[in-house]
Amino acid sequence: MQWVPEYRDDINRVERFNAVARITHWGHTVTFILCLFTGLVLFCDGMDWLATIFGGYAGAGLVHRIAAVLLTLFIAFFVLFDFKGIISWVKDLLRFGMNDIIFVMKFPLDFLGLPVKMPPQTRFNGGEKGNSMLTPTCVIFLVLSGYIMWFPAIFPAGLVRVAYPTHDIAMVFATFMVCMHGYLGSFHPGSGESFWGMWKGTVREDWAKHHHPIWYEEAYGEKADAEKE
């Protein structure tokens, strides 16, 4: 059985994510998962077995806080070293249009593996755009509410009171998105190739042409080449 689509260096590859983006992504992956599991230990019944791994509740609490600080630092790292990348990312998100809506509407079929004809997508397809908007938003809420709960004395009580449900709701949505994203970005046969985009930085050129034709055209197509020249 095939898990992640095979890495093919015999086919021409194009760069999809630079090093900073990849470090940030994987940094966040690790810290988020740490936060998630330590958080679940603290917040859910029946997760006591997990607590043992972290050295009990106190240990889990400590790991949660350390991971949260690292997670914050990765955001800072991304902002500092690839601000341009963020701008172009945001710009791409702002291109959300009819194509994306059609993509999202047709997506469930694709999700289950049924053959669908999708409209051409930019660098990020409709679903990815949704994920790109929702997950960072949730993370920002998580970070902010997290620090408020960590240092409640220096914040107004009303804000602290809101911080707890905010942290929980943001956690649920973020985890939902992360699960879907994790699956689609690796194991899903159609979009799994993007795993290599984030792992090695490059994707198969034909995959890029097929899945993100607009992006491909703009970044590597004739027009782009012409511009370069």
Binding site: M1, Q2, P5, I11, L42, F43, C44, D45, Y57, A58, G61, D110, F111, L112, G113, L114, P115, V116, K117, M118, M149, P152, A157, V160, R161, V162, Y164, P165, D168, I169, V172, F173, T175, F176, M177, C179, M180, G182, Y183, L184, F187, H188, P189, G190, S191, R204, D206, W207, H210, H211
Partner: protein
Amino acid sequence: MARKTNLYDVSKCIACRACQVACKDWNQLPAVIEPFKGNYQTHKDTNGDTYTIVKFIEHEDDPAADVQWNFLKYQCMHCFEPACMDVCPRKCIYINDWGAVLKDYDNCIGCQYCSYACPFHIPKYRKRQDIVTKCTLCYERVEEGLTPACVRTCPTDALQFGDRDELMQYAEERVKFLRVNGFPNATIYGKFELGGLNMLYVLTDSPDKFDLPVDPKVPGQIPFWQNWVQPYLGWLIPLALLGSATSFVTTRILANKHGEHGEGGHE
């Protein structure tokens, strides 16, 4: 079992703070010495090592009359419907069979949600143990047939402990007495507030004169969170996992049927 309640009659309290010391003694809490701040009150609020404080509040509504110096013993109110219990993610807060709101400290993770959900902001974080603490109504004493430490020590019987219905009756008599004896605004606090408190106050004036919320409310987002978000929203996570698993299987089955999906997709 019938509810057992602490009754605090402000008109008899001389603010000697023996209750505060008795509480520290029984619970073996360390002193939290803060410099004198221009008021007799030791701390602005309860803290992780101080379950109860006596508040000193000066009022001067009518310059011709005497100044009012109000005292108030302040501690956990042991609500009938405690918000702290509702929000505790570890579910370590519970009500015992006679109405004390208690905490299982072994399970407390020090998240302080209870502290901020409480309309009186009573539970407080104790840093040295990373837990949130509060008054226990000395349940361990009560279960041995004693009264809570603060009640036991009160020299003027301003604090009484016993059957809630009986004390309620007594409180009503006291309020009647006070109303005709110079305190027309005397009132009971804790009878209806928040659906009932297991801590009754006989006040000589309206609650705001004692820095008590006149109409305490559980912060609005808590029931919303409690009744809707927490029970249902969490299901999104298993849903995502289940969906992904389904997709994992169906995509592969369909791929076998339709042939190699591979590089193409979206044919």
